[in-house]
């Protein structure tokens, strides 16, 4: 039942029509990969939940693993489901290169956010105390103050 396209009259700009492989094996295989990776991620999430006493290093390690697994899922969805893996290398690069710049965007802004936190904690000890004291230990006159919950406020 395979459909051999010669020069496709409906998209004459395509020089070499290239239908993807005829069987659905690749599709279902990718489904299983995505399913197991998702289950692994959820498993890691529950693992974190079950161990609230983990140190910060361990927590970051697990979260790092989750990020890597998500990137793996993204790769499979893009390459196989969206067929980008079957396209010309030049087209893949047209999409990949801006995305690489995007990674710099991510790093820069997270770094900036962290720096903002550190500067604010250094120069605004009142605010720091308010946000790093457990709620039940806050003095009453603060607890009654609903300023924080003001609509649209970015603290």
């Amino acid at each position: 039942m395979s459909h051999q396209q010669q020069h496709n009259p409906f998209a004459p700009e395509v020089t070499f029509p290239h239908p993807p492989p005829d069987n659905t094996k690749r599709i279902w295989r990718t489904f299983w990969i995505l399913l197991f990776v998702t289950m692994a991620e959820v498993g890691l999430g529950l693992f974190l939940y079950a161990n609230p006493s983990f140190g910060q290093g361990m927590v970051y390690f697990i979260k790092g693993l989750m990020v890597i697994l998500t990137l793996a899922k993204a790769f499979y969805i893009i390459a196989i489901f969206m067929h980008l893996g079957d396209e010309l290398r030049s087209f893949v690069l047209t999409l990949v290169f801006p995305t690489l710049l995007f990674i710099w965007f991510i790093i820069a802004f997270l770094w900036d956010g962290n720096s903002f936190k550190n500067l604010r904690n250094t120069y605004d000890p009142y605010r720091k105390e308010m946000y790093t004291t457990p709620v039940d230990q806050l003095p009453d006159h603060i607890k009654e103050n609903v300023e924080f919950q003001k609509e649209g406020a970015l603290h």
Partner: protein, 224 residues
């Protein structure tokens, strides 16, 4: 993995698509890239605010409800189901495109229908999640959940959650509408008449993109 193309081609000499791809598909990819940057900007702003916060609510304690299970504590269970449904709908979409390549109208109808059902299921689930959270006091400007270290939380958490999942839900909705239009066109025999199912392929790209965004939203809000 890329195509096997004979010899050296002068792709940019004009008169043909330099990417050996139908122009409509090229434009859809470019649109998806721009939309990826939009969502990326949203998620990065979320990350920036989160990195500038001393602490943040624990998603395992916030997202632990399941429809019809009352007060049962089931962390991450419902959102995992939603993720599975969306991935499943992506699989059925690829199968629909596959059938389209073989000009198999019946196959396209079958798999498109499953994809639409998956999309509607996801939207319904998201609506339930929003309603549930609203009923426990979460909304734009109002955050009843304290941070993981029991310090005072601020509405950033709920503001970002509802805005970004809302934006994503909007994309899923438009995706479902496009899929329904595609289904109607298939039923009417439009693509048989045209001789190709390229429209299904392009809408499929959009649907996969919606799934892809959810994969990252799932990571950023529920896992990390």
């Amino acid at each position: 993995m890329a195509q096997a193309i004979p010899g050296k081609q002068k792709w940019w000499s004009g008169g043909k698509s330099p990417y050996n791809m139908e122009y409509g598909k090229v434009m859809m990819w470019f649109f998806l890239l721009s939309d990826a940057f939009t969502f990326g900007a949203f998620l990065i702003s979320y990350g920036t605010v989160r990195f500038s916060s001393d602490s943040w609510p624990d998603p395992n304690h916030v997202f632990h409800s399941f429809p019809f299970m009352g007060d049962a504590n089931l962390p991450l269970a419902f959102v995992s189901l939603m993720t599975f449904i969306l991935i499943m709908s992506s699989v059925t979409m690829v199968l629909a495109v596959h059938e389209g390549h073989r000009m198999n109208k019946k196959g396209v109808i079958k798999w498109l229908s499953f994809t639409i059902i998956g999309g509607l299921f996801f939207l319904g689930s998201q609506a339930w999640e929003w309603t549930h959270l609203y009923h426990v006091g979460a909304w734009w400007g109002s955050n009843p959940f304290n941070n993981i270290d029991h310090t005072l939380a601020n509405p950033n958490f709920t503001n970002f959650f509802f805005t970004i999942t809302g934006f994503h839900g909007l994309h899923v909705t438009t995706g479902v509408i496009l899929l329904i239009i595609a289904l109607i066109m298939t039923l009417n025999g439009n693509f048989d008449r045209k001789g190709h199912y390229l429209m299904i392929e392009k809408i499929g790209l959009y649907w996969h993109f919606v799934d892809l965004v959810w994969v990252f939203v799932f990571l950023c809000f529920y896992l990390i």
